[in-house]
Point group: C2
Chain length 87, copies 2
Amino acid sequence: MIFSVAVEIRPLEGIANPEGLTIERALPALGFSGVREVRVGKLLRFELEAADEHHARHEVEQMCEHLLANPVIERADIRLEAIGATK
Amino acid sequence: MIFSVAVEIRPLEGIANPEGLTIERALPALGFSGVREVRVGKLLRFELEAADEHHARHEVEQMCEHLLANPVIERADIRLEAIGATK
């Protein structure tokens, strides 16, 4: 099956998030108030071919561990959706 | 009201996406096959205080236009969820 995969990688709570702080400080100068707790992460989207959802999730977890995320400072949340049969 | 906001910023179709290409090329060498169409974007999460959802969405659209995204090469998708009353 083909899966549409989204992996959100974001800084763990308590880990510095300089890009978010910069945005939070810049917004009031541009006239936007009322924004708090800005956190910036990455969102990876891709297609994955796998036998079933269980295998697909396991493979994406392994990818996160080995390449996509740094578990010391980041967490990865995985969303999967079947979008078709294997061609 | 307080809104939990997520803004996904991703490269437009047809715009170079070097980080995604690098990941796509690296995965087979690590033993992962069957991954296609990797695209890497940003996901911003923050809290916003606004009168109602209409105003909240309008303010986030303005933020995207002025600071968060570059409309020439990126698209921004906004998700809003009310999470509480104004303190």
